[in-house]
Amino acid sequence: MFRRVNDGVPAGGPFTHQRVIYALVCLGWKSFPLFPGLKLPSLPGQVDELQCLRRWEAGLCSPSRDFHRQLATVREVTATSRHYVDRLFDPDPQNVLQGVIDMKNAVIGNNKQKANLIVLGAVPRLLYLLQQSSSSLELRTECAVVLGSLAMGTENNIKSLVDCHIIPALLQGLLCSDLIFIEACLRCLRTIFISPVTPVQLLYTDPTVIPHIMSLLSRSQHTQEYITQIFAHCCKTPEHQMVLFNHGAIQNIAPLLISPSYKVRMQALKCFSVLAYENAQVSMTLVNVLVDGEQLSQVFARMMQRDKPIEMQLTAAKCLTYMCRAGAIRTDDNCIILKTLPCLVRMCSKERLLEERVEGAETLAFLMEPDIELQRIASVTDHLVSMLADYFKYPSSVSAITDIKRLDHDLKHAHELRQAAFKLYASLGSNDEDIRKKITETENMMDRIVSGLSESSIKVRLAAVRCLHSLSRSVQQLRTSFHDHAVWKPLMKLLQNAPDEVLVMASSTLCNLLLEFSPSKEPILESGVIELLCSLTQSDSPALRVNGIWALMNMAFQADQKVKVEIVRALGTEQLFRLLSDPDTNVLMKTLGLLRNLLSTRPHIDQIMSSHGKQIMQAVTLILEGEHSIEVKEQTLCILANIADGNTAKELIMTNDDMPQKIKYYMGHSNVKLQLAATFCISNLIWNEEDGSQERQDKLREMGFVDILHKLTQASDPSLCDRAKTAMQQYLA
């Protein structure tokens, strides 16, 4: 079932001191943590130990006196370590056991000793002893303990252990029936898996591992603690969630939430938070779980009580947040509104640790993102909006002078704090105008966003542009603060060269900044944005294409002739038509919107139609004939109506054989919106006071439009009725 690992075990027998040096050389002197100053003569790529030693002895590398002195130190230190390793090879099992125990006592809390032993190859031997069924249980347990101790050292230690295939060996060990041994293996596994350098996938390679570990949960409080901790750290993807879920993680771990041990409770809680994250199935199951007759949401709510440790409050709030976002708990449930939300707001307060504040703010942002009511409540809870302003004050000027350690700590978290605050502001302001106003009125808010847009950290930039996007939904802010702070400048800069996720947000914001009432529209236009947007429409990402064409559409709304021409030129008719056949309806709609905005006032219509009339008519025909939604067709008919409003452009419709028939068809369509748009079109064509109106009226009368119009004057929809009457009047005049 488990793969047995025997490779990597060095040939038996004590180590010679050459082997020691060899080992050191192979592992790379220079990075060897013990002797940072020690320089070794450079050696050719692949050396064997004898050759290398021979070269030294022959004086070919002429090591300095300093080198000799240091080498002596190496020998001295490694000699003691080597002694421990040598004893692992003792023929008497009793001596081996004593050796392992002594080794255990020697390595505890001694990182140098740990590194030494790893370098000297103790790990493969320990693993070998651990796996041998001939070894006594005591010996195997002690081996697992020593390995666990080695894992407690540096990240390099973990890497070396993982490279020696320690994980399968320990997982294999779990099959043993002895609890003490299992606990030692689990403890070691725990230490390895919680390290960021361990690939979590290793837990899932063998499909029999998870069910077996799950069955060990009932063995003891220690197994519970270690296993839940492993799960909490190794559940990183939806696949992991499903594996654990399918093996009964919820039923097995739920009872641990009321374990007498705080550690077990805490780790079980963490498990649930990672299991429920963006997972509807898990979340839906969780709400129905009872622990000791109590619903899980109540258990979590109790864990958020203010006298509980902060870590517990925060993690419980996360669980409920994820369950709520997955739709398992309603957003107006008391445990969300009155417990989770206030708890998360508390986590943002100045009294909490920087890490807690980051996590609290991010979770809160996630919780209320889709719900305006939660946003409104949060915006008045405990002065959250001004509380967040404090997130930008790290590192504070005081800490810089007084406390280097603090400064270091602050610096490390400064980016995280800023991005968390931006995210939370973005979430808070995504729907409510009053909240947006409150946010922009927070001290230096706009300056902070502007500088955030050009920060080095991608996370901060993304969060800042998100926040800007959220605020850009406000007409008032677009008119005032956005313009005052020239946010378009950094935004344009951001658009030049950024990863897609930033681009999506930035271009989305740009769309809003290009709305006709936005004072930023002019300067943006002058900065050559058209080319940039046109290039976005060619992106592979539908979101970027939509944003590109959307921005162009906004830009073309009531724009100058010059701008429109520029748009058409830059985009190119070919690209325009490609977009009209885009698989994404959103893109299609916005492209039609763009066309409609381009074809707005009479001179513009005539001008564009004179140069691109043929293609446009083709595209219109194509869409009207194709399978499209009502909205798309309506938009297309509106374009047609606009064309019909042109002086010369009218003729393009009149001379087209099909088009009047199509209009006729849509006037009789079952959908009022389409009828209305088509009637509009006819109305424009037969409008009096224009050149050749009489001929067109006559021609259309022949085609039977008068009858249809007459019929439509009887329509139940008042606006359609009005429109038809107006059109009829053209004939009567």
Partner: protein, 632 residues
């Protein structure tokens, strides 16, 4: 500075108590302290007899340790508490309240009392009553009150700000609340919704909205601003209107205040609040109506959760109180306190074992301790006559010099006669010793429910075994009492044995003086003697109201056919022996120039006193630091 040091002193006391009291009660005391482990081992290995005896005396200690309440009575501050928390008086009070008036109203009253008791257990309402309604006296004329003075409506013209009107609650917020909270529901916002909710000191002009004047603080509904003793507000929270519930929380520990709206905290509004503020509301336009909730109903905001946080904070502060460099002295001091406590209460075997294991000297002779112990045993088992006799024998001049004490003992003897437990009536009694001993006055009563209820849960569940073992040990030791560390006379042991035999008997038959006619006659005769002694005392020393009341209460017992269930029946409860016992004990110790009270009890009293001082001087943290929390 003074207050600060007081509260610190108090914290120090807690440390003492915490350590000492834990040490006192738990058998595992020796083993639980790392420093002591070795000595404890020595103790058990070197001399099994001593070890046995030590164990025995520990059990005895648990068993015969006076019930907690009386132990506190020894302390300075404790006496009040007993008077207050006596089970009979508390119930009686509630009952008398319930008898009158509308039932629903009384239900509300009851709920209010319960909630206030739960929220503010540290408040002594005799000293500082809690606000329960708006004051009909302390309001402007434009304010109308209804619904038991909980509903406020505006009845002025409401034309200008000069027409503003406020009302204060009946009482200021006591500091001992720690955290105080009340809610106001807006029934109607009236014409303009110019409503202010907040706090003000006594004497602040009521023709104004809260917040506009010095020592006045308010949150206003029309603009959502907070007013901190100023005519101009600061942007604070959302506006509020009809249907909203606004809460106001005063934190008396850091002197801040925050508001809530519909159960959501709006954040700190005011800091550096002065003490003794009254809940206040103000209205300004016609039609405005608001209802107050001072605890009559559950609150919308989870105030108890907020209180939990502060309780944890304060307790963490106490737990982390630094004891500084003098770690060793600390240890020695605690040991001294424990030892002196044991000696004081004559737990001589334990005291000796403890002193030995901690290398301390006992300052009183063993014989003396044993004498006191003997007397105490007699008092506690209700054998007053013997107790008085023994005292006179051992300390001949004591009672002669202290006539009031003698009187008190004799009154108690009278009560015990009524009870049928005193030795004089017992020998006259027709009842068999067996049934007598099962009577609720026998030594078994040390296990009485009162005692159990106040001890920790472990002891409660373990009581049955303790009882059995005690019997076993006491018998065992009385046989091999060569070391002389016997707690209690040998009669005591026999008593218990007899008692053991009657364990199955459930029905307890209560009869005056044990039911014997001769005993009743003796009792009446004794009563006459007592009466004449009282008269004699009055002639010689003038009136003494305490003595008079004591005698009156005791004689009142005879007025009832069943004295035990009479209003004065509490006197017959064995728990009443404990104050008598400790008074006598203290008097004996005084004659030996030893302290009247053990330092431990003193420090308990000192801590309790500190707490009440903190409450009086406005340090809110006293709310979350009850001495009881550390006495278990």
């Amino acid at each position: 500075v003074h207050i600060f040091s007081q509260s610190h002193l108090c914290l120090v006391m807690y440390q003492v108590l915490k350590e000492a009291v834990c040490g006192l009660i738990a058998v595992s005391w020796l083993a639980s302290r790392p420093i002591r482990i070795k000595q404890a081992r020595n103790l058990s290995s070197s001399s099994p007899v001593v070890s046995d005896s030590a164990r025995f005396s520990h059990w005895t200690l648990i068993e015969s340790c006076p019930a907690k309440d009386s132990w506190q009575a020894v302390g300075i501050g404790g006496r009040n508490r007993i008077a207050m928390s006596g089970p009979s008086s508390g119930c009686g009070f509630l009952m008398s309240v319930v008898v009158h008036g509308d039932l629903a109203l009384n239900e509300q009253e009851k709920e209010l009392n319960q909630r206030l008791k739960r929220l503010y257990p540290a408040v002594n309402e005799q000293e500082t009553p809690l606000p329960r309604s708006w004051s009909p006296k302390d309001k402007f004329s434009y304010i109308g009150l209804s619904q038991n003075n909980l509903r406020v409506h505006y009845k002025g013209h409401g034309k200008t700000p000069k027409d503003a009107a406020s009302v204060r609650a009946t009482h200021p917020i006591p500091a001992a609340c720690g955290v105080y909270y009340f809610e106001v529901k807006i029934i109607s916002k009236g014409r303009d919704g110019y409503m202010g909710i907040g706090l003000s000191a006594q004497g602040v002009n009521m023709n104004r909205l809260p917040g506009w004047d010095k020592h006045s603080y308010g949150y206003h509904g029309d603009d959502g601003h907070s007013f901190c003793s100023s005519g101009t507000g600061q942007p604070y929270g959302p506006t509020f209107t009809t249907g909203d519930v606004i809460g106001c929380c005063v934190n008396l520990i850091n002197n801040t205040c925050f508001y809530t709206k519909n159960g959501h905290s709006l954040g700190i509004a005011f800091t550096d609040l002065p003490p003794n503020l009254y809940p206040t509301v103000g209205l300004q336009t016609p039609g405005e109506v608001v209802d107050a909730n001072f605890g009559q109903h559950p609150f919308v905001f989870d105030i108890e959760d907020y209180m939990r946080e502060w309780r944890t904070k304060i307790q963490a502060q106490i737990d982390r109180f630094p004891i500084g460099e003098r770690e060793g002295e600390w240890q020695a001091m605690i040991q001294k306190m424990v030892a002196s406590y044991l000696v004081h209460h004559s737990y001589c075997a334990t005291a000796e074992a403890f002193a030995k294991s901690t290398d301390q000297a006992v300052h009183e002779e063993l014989a003396s301790i044993k004498n006191r112990q003997k007397i105490q045993k007699l008092v506690l088992s209700g054998r007053m006559g013997e107790a008085i006799e023994t005292t006179q024998q051992l300390y001949p001049s004591l009672l002669e010099r202290n006539q009031d004490l003698l009187f008190m003992l004799k009154v108690r003897q009278f009560i015990e006669m009524v009870n049928g437990t005193d030795s004089e009536v017992r020998c006259l009694g027709g009842r068999s010793p067996k049934s007598q001993d099962c009577y609720p006055g026998s030594p078994r009563l040390f296990n009485s429910p009162v005692h159990k209820a106040s001890s920790s849960q472990t002891y409660q569940t373990g009581t049955a075994e303790v009882e059995m073992e005690l019997d076993h040990f006491s018998n065992g030791v009385s046989e091999s009492s060569s070391n002389g560390f016997l707690n209690g006379s040998s009669t005591h042991g026999i008593d218990l044995e007899e008692c053991d035999g009657d364990m199955g008997e459930i029905i307890i038959w209560r009869q005056l003086c044990g039911g014997s006619q001769a005993a009743i006659e003796r009792m009446i005769q004794f009563g006459r003697e007592l009466q004449s002694m009282s008269e004699h005392l009055r002639r010689e020393r003038g009136k003494n109201s305490a003595n008079k009341k004591m005698l009156k209460d005791a004689f009142s017992l005879l007025a009832y056919s069943d004295p035990w269930s009479s209003p004065v029946g509490y006197q017959l409860d064995s728990i009443q022996r404990e104050p008598v016992c400790s008074t006598l004990n203290s008097a004996i110790l005084e004659t030996h120039n030893l302290p009247k009270q053990p330092p431990l009890a003193l420090s308990v009293g000192q801590a309790a006193q500190c707490l009440s001082l903190m409450a009086r001087t406005g340090s809110g943290s006293c709310a979350f630091a009850s001495v009881d929390d550390y006495l278990h």
